[in-house]
């Protein structure tokens, strides 16, 4: 690990003022791991974990979630359990209880990829770590990598389960930075790798995530995660779905996919294929085909295209029962 400085931010203003000197840290479940591996080398950690951003409260028809709400507190909160079960399911399918007790909402939004080539400093080639150095995952072992949203520069997957539910729920991310506060639609928060996989979000220097809001949603919800063992593993494919069926017709549908995209993958094409139809295996299959229409597989991850379709079909089947 590189030597680093440490500042405990007393309030939001101090955190933002100090931001040019370093990097925010909250739960540290991802950052400390990656600092130990040498993947990230912040000069100074600005510890924001003491800021009063830990509330979950009703806001209009929706809910407001502080950036420092722990994953476990969020998953078990009555408002979330009642109104956003897809989010609770997604949170509880991720990591382990110990990690969920530490990990924060804001930190989880910013969780870095699990690409093994990104995490192993012995590889000189990683466009995320060293722009322009190349990508060792393309042509390498890429079972965990994305089939949607990749570029010739990067196919690293966004690993967060929470983010998939947030994308489906049309969350809004609220940030506070040197030039004030602003709101960012969750689906616009993460960027595609393109030629610049080192850029992962639209956050500007010094901007701090302060809270997330969720609008009211109608319909049955479900998060289904498929992985290589029964627990404590990242998704090979996952689906967050909200299906509003009235009188035998789908009035509203929200679909997002995980484990297969370079960002939390909202599948509007699938939603368009569902709305106005009567729920049926054929309709679900069509929606799944639409969601994966642009998918591109690598030799060791092409199976995920079919797997993601089946995962989505299963999730839609569950909520239409």
């Amino acid at each position: 690990m590189e030597p680093f400085g440490y500042i405990a931010a007393a309030d939001e203003k101090m955190a933002i003022d100090e931001a040019p000197r370093g990097t925010f840290i909250a739960g540290g479940t991802n950052m400390v791991d990656y600092m130990r591996l040498g993947v990230i080398k912040p000069t100074t950690l600005i510890d924001v974990s003491r800021l009063p951003l830990t509330n979950i409260e009703a806001a209009g028809d929706g809910v407001k979630i502080g950036a420092l709400v722990r994953n476990s507190d969020l998953a078990y909160h009555p408002l979330i359990q009642q109104k956003y079960p897809v989010l609770a399911e997604a949170l509880l399918s991720g990591a382990s209880p110990q990690i969920r007790n530490m990990a924060t909402t804001g930190g989880n939004i910013l969780q870095r990829t699990r690409c093994p080539y990104f995490r192993d400093m012995h590889y000189a080639q990683c466009n995320k770590r060293q722009p322009g150095s190349g990508c060792a995952a393309i042509g390498g072992f890429n079972r965990s990598h994305a089939v949607l949203g990749g570029s010739p520069a990067c196919i690293a997957t966004n690993p967060s389960d929470m983010n998939v539910a947030m994308a489906a729920l049309d969350a809004t991310v609220h940030v506070h930075g040197p030039s004030g506060e602003r709101d960012i639609a969750f689906v616009d928060f993460h960027t595609l790798p393109g030629d610049h996989p080192e850029v992962e979000t639209v956050l500007q220097p010094g901007e701090l995530i302060t809270y997330v809001t969720l609008p009211a949603v109608t319909g049955k919800q479900h998060y289904l995660k498929v992985r290589d063992r029964a627990s404590f593993a990242f998704a090979l494919a996952s689906a967050a779905v909200v299906l509003d069926v009235q009188g035998g017709t789908i009035h509203g549908a929200r679909v997002a996919l995980g484990g297969v995209g370079t960002k939390p993958w909202r599948a509007k094409e699938a939603e368009a294929a569902l709305v106005g139809q009567a729920p049926s295996p054929a309709v679900f299959a069509k929606a799944a085909d639409a969601a994966l229409a642009g998918a591109k597989g690598q030799p060791t991850n092409a199976f995920k295209i079919e797997l993601a379709k089946r995962t989505l079909v299963r999730a839609l089947t569950e909520v239409s029962k």
Binding site: H122, S231, Q298, P299
Partner: protein, 696 residues
């Protein structure tokens, strides 16, 4: 009442659960410095230069030992035993495998050493790497592991196959596995002058470490002391000293201070051994009634270019069933990889997967119930060695486990049971592992206050050695269990072999038993007064020449398969095992449970993956190298079958440390076939292998 057999809690349980058991790396040693191995980023070639300047300039750095500038050790690669490994001690410029040590950084704190290690840069002229067994040039090794000929031929295979009414021919593949014990490999080396060396090492064999260090550093064995009071698992990886052990001693000598060197989890993928890839070709034939007429088991496994290790996967095939015509062979392919080594049930774990899977396939070809097929081919003698078994309660294992499981209700046809989205399948297999023993010594002191101390230079890998030896001693001495102290893990104690091959209970238990008897006799001769100390050297039971000695078991498994998503869940396991005298019902059960959990891992999740271009291990930590988590492990019912064996050794115990990791992975694969109708002959059975037509 006898203490032997009772389910005593571990005598060291409290220490362990309160975090006060001192493992090697935790030993408090004054003035200790910290060493970190710098691993090569390049895979294979010639090391041209190692630039240590930036690292040396860091505060707190005491020394950087690097290829080209490390102390010379002329006997670096003199092996004391065939199990010893060729080590990489910075002596030459050959780079054999990724992560090979190119330097060792020593600093006053661990953090400073870790940071400086990141600043060491090496220049390597790289050469291409060969990484795959298929297509490689195979050669015949001299031995199939420490116990056997590489090839055997019994009867006439061609005639046996020609006579067969039903035949199967199939190839099975098992991947690289890493042992990944919870406790990282670690060494603290402390010199007392130039001639005396004390080492705290995480090892399965303190005397092997002592002897190797004495050879490498030109020391008298008596002047090297190796201590290891607790081991957090070894599974074979700690069976012989790897490079980091002498590197720690080399660094300590260089800086004139004790040095602690902990191998990282990532480095343990390459620096401390692995189970090699096996490719196993099986041909089996049976007659109309299901009697085996022919078995051919051809094993090809990987090894490295600069050393040799054979995974002896066909050994059990020579004796497990009655069959007149049996051919087995072992071949190796040299690859640009680190050295493979023994991994829990080396040979039998991979070999029973292939053989028992093929047995299931032949049972289906002949339309015979898989259990009835095993019973039909039951062997009552070791037909290869032409020896009787010292004891063999395998039939009772079949009966008890199948009854507890409810096997008789099984429908033969695949895809015949369903539970919602899940197809349900049942599979079974035979488990077997040799009963071994080696010479060992024990010292017993009966004190005037009626307490006793028993001492053996053995190890407790977490298996319960401390506890079971106390039980053996209590019975022999007639002294209460809690008035006896058992000491181990120090080469200053009487010599015992490494803890491996499931032989510690038999080996150390027998030495302790006889030593206790002698101590009691000695005390009686002195009129039962005062303190006596007796040391006894115990040889291997002579009956090992006359009898074939093996533990046996039968394991029955239920799996559920979600066919759309390819998910496999083991939902039920019943295993019955006969391993001679059980010394402690609780620790024995734990060993068997652990072995079955390993089998679940082997069948469904475990695989060390190498990058196809560089050979560097991709699955470098426990996030990527999957082992079963609690949610993957169902209720496992273990049945201990009574087995009296007057021949095997003085305590009558055969050892249960590894047999749980045999057979069960085949039972799982066969259950997956029963559920789905699909044979997966390539472990682990991950979901994409069960999804049809998903590959690009």
């Amino acid at each position: 009442m006898s203490e032997v057999g009772k389910p005593h809690d571990r005598v060291d349980g409290r220490l362990k659960v309160t975090g006060t058991a001192t493992y090697a790396a935790e030993t408090p040693v004054a003035n200790v410095a910290h060493a970190v191995i710098v691993s090569s980023a390049a895979s294979h070639g010639t090391i041209k230069a190692v630039d240590t300047r930036a690292a040396l300039a860091q505060p707190g750095v005491l020394a950087v030992l690097a290829v080209g500038a490390a102390p010379k050790l002329p006997d670096a690669n003199k092996k004391n035993s065939p199990q010893d490994k060729i080590l990489q001690l910075l002596q030459d410029d050959a780079l054999h495998y990724p992560d090979q040590p190119v330097a060792v950084v020593v600093a006053d704190t661990l953090e400073r050493a870790q940071h400086a290690a990141m600043l060491v840069a090496s220049q390597v002229t790289e050469e291409p790497v060969a990484l795959e067994v298929p297509g490689g040039e195979a050669y015949k090794p001299e031995h199939a592991g420490p116990r056997g000929e590489p090839d055997t031929t019994r009867g006439d295979l061609a005639a046996g196959l020609a006579a067969a009414k039903f035949k199967v021919a199939a190839t099975y593949r098992t991947p690289v596995h890493n042992h990944h014990p919870m406790e990282l490999h670690a060494t603290i080396a402390a010199w007392q002058g130039d001639k005396f060396l004390t080492v705290y090492d995480a090892t399965q064999g303190i005397f092997n470490v002592r002897d190797r260090l004495a050879t490498i550093f030109g020391l008298d064995k008596k002047n090297v002391r190796v201590i290891d009071k607790f081991v957090g698992g070894g599974f074979g990886s700690k069976g012989s000293p790897w490079s980091h052990v002498p590197l720690a001693a080399m660094a300590a000598k260089q800086v004139g201070r004790p040095v602690k060197l902990v191998v990282t989890r990532q480095q343990m993928c390459s620096l401390t051994g692995h189970r090699p890839v096996t490719v196993q070709e099986l041909q089996l034939g049976c007659d109309e009634k299901g009697a085996l007429t022919a078995i051919e088991h051809k094993v090809t496994s990987e090894t490295c270019r600069f050393d040799e290790f054979v995974e002896p996967s066909a050994i059990q095939t020579r004796m497990i069933y009655s069959c007149p015509n049996v051919v087995t062979s072992h071949r190796l392919v040299k690859l640009d990889i680190a050295t493979p080594t023994f991994t829990r049930a080396p040979g039998e774990a991979t070999g029973t997967y292939a053989l028992e899977s093929a047995m299931d396939e032949l049972a289906y070809a002949a339309n015979i119930d898989p259990l009835a097929f095993r019973i039909k081919n039951y062997s009552t003698t070791d037909e290869q060695e032409k020896k009787p078994f010292s004891s063999k309660e395998l039939m009772a294992c079949y009966t008890k486990a199948s009854e507890a499981f409810g096997w008789s209700k099984r429908k033969m046809a695949p895809r015949s049971q369903r539970d919602g989205n899940w197809l349900v399948g049942w599979g079974m297999a035979t488990a077997t592992y040799p009963a071994r023993q080696m010479p060992a010594s024990a010292r017993v002191t009966i004190k005037a206050d009626g307490t006793a101390v028993v001492q053996v230079g053995t190890q407790d890998l977490g298996t319960g050695t401390y506890t079971v030896m106390t039980q053996v001693a209590a019975d022999e001495l007639g002294i209460a269990f809690d008035r006896i102290t058992f000491e181990l893990g120090d080469t200053a104690l009487p010599e015992a072999p490494l803890s491996a091959g499931s032989m510690t209970a038999a080996t150390v238990g027998s030495a302790v038993k006889i030593a206790c008897q002698k101590a009691k006799q000695e005390l009686a001769m002195r009129g039962g007064k005062g303190e006596v100390t007796v040391e006894h050297h115990n040889e291997v039971s002579k009956d090992h020449d006359k009898f074939a000695m093996h533990s046996h078991g039968a394991v029955f498994v239920e799996v559920k398969v979600d066919e759309d998503l390819g998910l496999v869940r083991v939902s039920r396991v019943v295993g019955a095992y006969a391993g001679g005298q059980i010394l402690n019902a609780k620790t024995a059960r734990s060993q068997l449970l652990g072995g079955v959990v390993w089998s679940i891992g082997m069948a469904l999740v475990e695989e060390t993956v190498r990058d196809p271009k560089t050979g560097r291990v991709i699955t470098r930590d426990l996030a990527d190298y999957h082992v079963p988590v609690h949610a993957d492990v169902p209720d496992i019912q273990i049945i201990m079958v009574d087995e009296k064996d007057p021949h095997v050794n003085e305590v009558g115990a055969k050892g249960l440390g590894e047999i749980g990791n045999t057979g069960a992975s085949a039972a799982i694969a066969s259950a997956v076939f029963h559920a789905t109708g699909k044979r997966i002959r390539d472990l682990p059975i991950r979901l994409d292998k069960l999804l049809p037509d998903v590959h690009a």
